[in-house]
Symmetry: C2
Subunit: 207 residues, 2 copies
Amino acid sequence: MERSDVEEEIMEATYRAICEHGYAGLTMRDIADESEKSKATLHYHYDTKQELFLVFLDYLIEEFQERVDGLETEDPAEEVVEILTPRSEELTEGFRTAVLEMKAQSPYNEGFRRKLVEHEKSLSRRLEETVRRGVEEGVFRDEVEPSEAAEFLITLMNGLRERSVTVGKTDEELRETVEEYVETNLIYDAEARDRDGDRYGSSGGET
Amino acid sequence: MERSDVEEEIMEATYRAICEHGYAGLTMRDIADESEKSKATLHYHYDTKQELFLVFLDYLIEEFQERVDGLETEDPAEEVVEILTPRSEELTEGFRTAVLEMKAQSPYNEGFRRKLVEHEKSLSRRLEETVRRGVEEGVFRDEVEPSEAAEFLITLMNGLRERSVTVGKTDEELRETVEEYVETNLIYDAEARDRDGDRYGSSGGET
């Protein structure tokens, strides 16, 4: 989606404001305060907070997409781990909490719901592709069903992120859980990978 | 925890009010409207909305605990599935959404956080016991590590419940995912179970 410089700046200001104040009580004033633009400029671009937040959701989804598209690993197992694990430096506790707040609005907010469903579908397709490639390349087991694995991985990702907000699970714990799952359930011969030292992160996928 | 009849009635009224209005905007007035008690009576028992909600979280956790303690199955695999899958008739969409809203308050609300952590610990102990029994009885595989399995199951449960709110996953989909996980990851010989017709739910665990 093409956004003008002004719109881009408003999105970044929204990001900072939501990290600071959370979603529920956030006002256009809070967002303007994080930006060099006036509240009037905000309203010129976005009639309502709802409209702005729908664009903000697109913005977040694109950011996620760019990160995933930018992954440099060729290894399907590492790719799955990288897609599922958050980059701590970008996802502050305030931000994750705000995302959970927005998700809790989904049943009351048809626009939010539509975007979340769309995002999960596209993520599911991407994970399915990665898993299918893993099976074809013999990295993952033959009996792994790519679309089922993709669905399961999304559920796992949501559960992990929720628990990082609700009970303070750390990103290391999140990553370990995902790695453990991939090793136990997807990888054809995890022990051989261990012997070869070919584990996740060893090829610099962390950056 | 012992509650008087009045307190019990207030909890039930809170449940109805939260299903109706969600958590964020809920007022003591909304709760009083669902009850035969006056707003003054509410305030006599609970000084603030925060105080009332802390007791309400205890009430929910006890309800969950009672359901789990009341499970009649002897089969560890069925027990895991029953613990993890919600009973639709009791968990309306409004209620689940409100729970997600409350969870999103956890980073800002030390009392909520403490109760959620406590609840997950007790649930983890219970799942760990069930998994350990499953391993001892030869229903689950020897290599299953009970405490790791319990942690993973809680993450899975949270992810599933979140997705029932955010993207409208049905309870049947939730149950299938859990059953699939238990079969693929815990059960020693799922095919033999299938042959014997000894699958979950066949012994009436749904009630």
